[in-house]
């Protein structure tokens, strides 16, 4: 193993136990379920407009809901089958949202023009930057690290801004999750071609793939394969949460800071997750829309864990049943990782474009402990990667002092949860900081629109 110079972001961060229990398990195809529930909003922005009616037959990869407005994303059928009905179904946020429910047929019949072979295609010269962005938009690709921001919007550089570096996020700093790790090992070349496509779309000469040092096999494989691709380098990073946060990753790799209230493009950077990059490859080179993703299903008590390629709209319950049902003593089911994932109240919630994992937690490991008074130990201040004072923002939020919360930069919280993680008094710092962040942001928006 060669020696690396490991980079990281300078301020704050924590080291939660990694628990990457599924890192060694190859990606498996998850079978087509008896029903799929496809939400028409699996992204940040406006819900897509439904194009199909009940009883209508749809093909795998067929457009079933069309993006409405610029910040929105197309939705495709992930199976071949008949539209059963259109109904309100819970999503990861805990709210009921409109979904197209489809009864699948056992065999896929793919929509026209989709290349379903495994053959690697590298002939990217045939596409112009505009064509690449158009194909990404048609395929309904969104940020697959969990943010689900429409990718074509991120690739459309605003007037007057210039991108000079593309960063591919292979950090996967959340404990337990391994879907990006497996993808880097198994779809190495595809990710690199996807990176070249993104570089072309953004008109940048340089791309850096950031991977944390706890994935030496991925670092080695990607570094070796990247030699064949012009302008792409792999940058190993020190293991530290939340390095996968966009701002922290840019800082670690380039030393630049996204200004408070600004976007990465303000400092010439665009970040894309490896899962998104793979989806871009499939969309452009294979004409394949985003209809499936890698989901890590894991938990300490689960015997059959895995990294599954799952059709979007598959119920979490179907996946849990497939691996043997909920283990005795399960107290919480988290969609995503333990630091930023969302706890779901029901297993009848479908896998969406942003569902990176399903984590089953024991009741005793996830139960919150008694909240004690703040002893001003400053641990939350020291671990905050954004330089905030979570203890202060919490007390301001408790009192509804939003002016002061804005002065304390609550709006700059990235919701990484490091403050709650370290608090010796078990104070719900993240709950309140998140509340303050959202409230302050909506006040700021209202002021701007006035």
């Amino acid at each position: 193993m060669p020696e690396y110079k490991l980079l990281t972001f300078p301020k704050g961060g924590v080291h939660p136990p990694e628990n990457k229990l599924t890192a060694g398990l190859a990606i498996e195809q998850f079978p087509i379920p008896s029903k799929v529930y496809i939400h028409v909003q699996q992204h940040i922005g406006v819900p897509a407009e439904i194009l199909v009616k009940p009883k209508e037959r749809v093909l795998t990869g067929q457009l079933i809901a069309k993006a409405k407005g610029f910040v929105s994303a197309n939705i495709h059928s992930s199976v071949t089958g008949t539209v059963f009905k259109i109904d309100e179904i819970y999503d990861a946020s805990g709210y009921r949202k409109t979904a197209v429910i489809i009864t699948p047929e056992p065999e896929d019949e793919w929509a026209e023009g989709i290349d379903t072979s495994d053959e690697l295609r590298t002939d990217i010269d045939q596409f112009t930057p505009e064509q690449i962005i158009q194909k990404v938009k048609e395929a309904g690709i969104v940020g697959m690290g969990g943010a689900t921001f429409p990718t074509h919007v991120k690739l459309s550089i605003p007037e007057g801004k210039k991108c000079d570096i593309l960063i591919i996020n292979g950090v996967e700093c959340e404990p337990y999750l391994t879907s990006d790790h497996r993808l880097m090992l198994e779809k190495t070349e595809e990710i690199l071609v996807g990176t070249r496509l993104l570089m072309k779309a953004l008109k940048v000469e340089r791309a850096v793939i950031g991977i944390e040092a706890n994935k030496p096999d991925a670092i080695e494989k990607m570094t070796e394969a990247a030699k064949k691709y012009e302008g792409i380098t792999v940058q190993p990073l020190k293991v530290k949460y939340p390095q996968g946060g966009e701002k922290q990753l840019i800082k670690a790799i380039t030393g630049r800071e996204v200004p408070s209230g600004g976007l990465p493009i303000d400092i010439g950077a665009v970040v894309q997750n490896v899962g998104t990059t793979f989806a871009v490859y499939e969309a452009v080179m294979k004409n394949k829309p985003l209809i499936e993703r890698i989901v890590t299903i894991t938990g300490k008590d689960l015997e059959r864990r895995g990294n599954f390629r799952v059709r979007l709209g598959t119920m979490v319950k179907d996946i849990i049943d497939y691996v043997g049902g909920l283990p005795e003593g399960t107290g919480k089911v988290v969609l995503g990782g333990p630091m930023m994932g969302k706890a779901t109240k029901t297993l009848n919630v479908p896998v969406g474009k942003g569902t990176s994992g399903i984590l089953l937690m024991r009741r005793e490991e996830t139960k919150r402990k008694e909240v004690l008074p703040c002893i001003h130990c400053a641990r939350c201040v020291m671990v905050c990667p954004q330089g905030l004072e979570p203890y202060l923002i919490m007390s301001l939020a408790e009192r509804g002092m939003w002016d002061k919360a804005e002065e304390a930069h609550a709006q700059d919280c990235i919701m990484c949860g490091s403050c709650s993680f370290v608090c010796p008094s078990n104070r719900p710092l993240q709950d309140y900081t998140q509340f303050a962040r959202n409230t302050v942001m909506s006040i700021m928006r209202a002021r701007k629109n006035k």
């Binding site: 333990p338 297993l347 930069h409």
Partner: protein
């Protein structure tokens, strides 16, 4: 099964080692070598004072929480036990039990619970108790048993002055420090801890070991202890260079009195010290300066308690002006 799933905001995990109780226990453990050494030096009196202080501090906390504040007592967070232990370290080993009881009552009742309990107080509770005793019972609080001399006696122990007291009185009477040196222990003796004084003024070596333990356990950072001890050393050293017959040497300054105990265990109290490294350094340097100023120009031979209490009052102000830099913001001062 399904309707029993817990739902909450992220994060869904919590650092295993992080608890108030564990932090307090670490500080108590770090103090243990020095506590045991004081038992060895001062014998039965030290044991009585320590046990009474710890037990009464916990009792006061329990009684006040339950009957005055009418809320669930939190004695198992060990903070009251630690306050009692620290107060014991700050008094002579022949202090009568009733004075110890008053000291812990003032420490817990006035210093801590009157502000609203753990985390709310402005001043270090143990020091509030100690200073109250010092002002109320100046004779009892400044007659220190001679170490190793009367380990089997408690109230009737043979007493003597502290090195700081000898120097202060000597200089005040116009004597030269070089003439006083034969009355005070050597630096090595002071480093190992054999001299007159309060329980915790002994054993610089053992206190430093405790401090290293706390830094390794990440309970405290180096900023406050190092800046206090460093400032006392440098400022004391500067005075010594100006006039070595009037001002004691810098090693004497840091090895005597409560500098080690104060810098490592008292000034680092989370509740009453600043949050950021920069704030901690300002706090520590200020305490160091005040210690030397009080020692050399004040009425008392020793100034550690007062120096820490004075700076405790400035903590909110220091915190306000030493906030961490928010990611993605430039320092506004530089733009001007």
């Amino acid at each position: 099964m399904e309707n029993k799933l817990l739902v909450s905001y992220s994060p869904h995990i919590h650092a295993q080692s992080a608890s108030v109780q564990r932090i307090m226990l670490d500080v108590i453990l770090a103090l243990m070598p020095a506590v045991l050494f004081s038992f060895y030096l001062f014998g039965i009196g030290a044991i009585i004072v320590t046990v009474v202080a710890v037990a009464s501090a916990v009792l006061w906390e329990w009684l006040i929480a339950k009957y005055l504040l009418k809320r669930k007592p939190q004695i198992w967070d060990l903070s009251a036990a630690l306050t009692g232990l620290l107060l014991a370290m700050n008094v002579p080993s022949n202090l009568p039990i009733w004075m110890v009881l008053i000291g812990t009552l003032v420490a817990i009742g006035v210093g801590k619970m009157s502000f609203g309990g753990l985390g709310q107080n402005i001043f270090n509770p143990a020091l509030v108790g100690r200073v109250f005793l010092l002002i109320s019972f100046p004779v009892a609080m400044t007659s220190w048993p001679v170490p190793l001399k009367s380990r089997m006696s408690y109230l009737d122990a043979v007493t003597g002055a502290t090195p700081l007291g000898i120097v202060k009185d000597g200089v005040r009477n116009g004597e030269k420090i070089s003439d006083l040196m034969h009355q005070i222990p050597s630096h090595m003796q002071m480093f190992y801890g054999v001299m007159g004084g309060s329980l915790g003024e002994m054993a610089a070596l053992l206190l430093i070991l405790g401090g290293i333990y706390l830094i390794i356990r990440k309970v405290i950072s180096w900023h406050i202890p190092v800046s206090i001890i460093g400032t006392v050393f440098l400022f004391g050293g500067l005075l010594w260079l100006i006039n070595p017959e009037k001002y004691p040497d810098p090693l004497f300054q840091i090895l005597t009195g409560g500098v080690m105990l104060g810098a490592i265990f008292m000034a680092t109290d989370y509740v009453t010290s600043p949050m950021t490294p920069k704030g901690k350094l300002i706090f520590g340097v200020s305490i160091g300066l005040l210690i030397v100023i009080i020692r050399e120009w004040g009425a008392y031979p020793e100034g550690v308690s007062f120096a820490i209490l004075i700076m405790n009052a400035f903590v909110p102000l220091i915190d306000k002006y030493t906030k961490p830099r928010v990611f993605g913001t430039m320092k506004t001062k530089k733009q001007n």
